[in-house]
Symmetry: C2
Subunit: 267 residues, 2 copies
């Protein structure tokens, strides 16, 4: 999906909500466990109940790999089930030397048909570049993550005075454009959004950490929105695990609707 279509969908739905699909057999409603493919069945019902309220789905690949080939099959089916007008994010946090990154890109962009993938920047240009070679696909590079560990290296100042995450932003901006690159900025760093918007005013930012991890939607919007909205805000647990009963999809819809209503005011 290209940038224009993404913005169109955002304006149409008055939403910039991404729903995380971290589907965990220990957390989904027990009545699904007897089905042949409980992971896919859970995702299918969540997607069917919420797809008019969100503009993106983000399966967290670890939760599929954890179940081996069976998990991978559930992921493939999930990816196929997501309506074509919804942006899909493989939250895979990959990146390796060039020929290996190309294989990862083929896995997520060709073997499956994800629009985008999250990537570690540590290995530099030739590890991210291969993902930018796929037309209509996006690299979403980790810049400043939502976890405590973001203070270990990302916030360290370099000799040139910039924190590492800023160097990552500025360097990655030279590899691609705002038409094929986004950045991950955790909602827990809400005070940094003004500075980040000074560095990359036009890029879409994928923002995890709202809800369970403590980030504040209102503050992120206040400092992070740009003229095209420019934010994709992820929520996972609060929505997909709103109920463990047979009403789980309905309850997920209610939670997604609450977030969408909060977002509507920014249009």
């Amino acid at each position: 999906m290209n940038r224009t279509s993404l913005i169109e969908q955002i304006r149409l739905k008055k939403s910039f909500l991404c729903i995380g699909l971290d589907t965990d057999l220990d957390k989904i409603p027990p009545h699904l466990l007897d089905l042949e493919d409980p992971i896919f069945e859970f995702n299918k019902q969540i997607i069917d109940a919420t797809h008019d309220l969100c503009i993106a789905y983000k399966p967290n690949i670890a939760f599929y790999e954890r179940y081996g080939a069976r998990g991978w099959t559930a992921l493939e089916k999930t990816c196929k089930h997501i309506p074509k007008n919804i942006f899909t994010i493989a939250d895979a946090k990959r990146a390796d030397i060039g020929n290996t990154s190309t294989e990862y890109a083929k896995a997520f962009f060709e073997q499956m048909d994800f629009d985008s993938i999250t990537l570690h920047p540590y290995m530099g240009e030739d590890s991210v570049g291969p993902f930018l070679q796929f037309k209509g696909k996006w690299a979403i590079v980790l810049a400043l993550t939502s976890n405590k560990g973001s203070y270990d290296f990302q916030m360290h100042r370099l000799e040139n005075g910039m924190p590492l995450y800023e160097q990552v932003l500025r360097t990655c901006m030279t590899w691609g454009t705002h038409e094929n690159t986004m950045f991950v900025i955790g909602a827990t760093h809400e005070e940094m959004f003004t500075e980040i918007r000074r560095i990359c005013p036009d890029h879409f930012l994928l923002v995890p950490g709202v809800g369970a991890q403590g980030g504040d939607l209102e503050k992120v919007c206040k400092f992070g929105l740009n003229k095209d909205i420019g934010l994709i805000i992820n929520s996972t647990r609060q929505i997909i695990y709103a109920s463990k009963g047979v009403d789980f999809a309905e309850k997920a819809r209610e939670e997604a609707l609450k977030v969408q209503k909060q977002m509507e005011q920014y249009f």
Copy 2:
């Protein structure tokens, strides 16, 4: 596999060779393509022909994911086929926030039975820590990689004067011990091994980049060996793709033997 057993195997075989299993349907001998599971069949024959000459196998996970659930099944079968006295490395380059890293650890350490996994350090302690919670398993953290992109961030000097890769080494050493943590140091940075050994004299280093990528085995050994050998040197293309004929496993053995003979002089 614990450190003592790994060192035992190294001394027994007079080898610190790791063979990379980057199994690519476009590169394996064409006569295998008609079989039901050509990826596994290729790996099986390579393993059967070389397992007395190497002390580790390192499947590159991208090459399996690329083929979806089918690739994942081939990976699972490969992992099971590797003899128990050989160290196994999931070259997966993962790491995410804590609960997600735990899922990746379950995928590679429980669902499969890998001894170790390669990890990106960018997200900090709570992204690497979960892998250290698994007894007898290893985190192999990227420090200084073999590719050109290693100059983009890893070699940048921080305000405290250290290059980022050194900060990564020093910080990660406080999270685990030399009994559960190794570091990736690319063979292409052979001039850095003296300095790296000053920082972490006891840790095992996984060294890719010898052979096709241009690293020099002799120089790496000269500056990188420690009293327990302390190096796991990976070679992939030069060994597994030595021939595209029916003799591919035999030729792979010949190439592995050449490297093992070079290594023998250090015992």
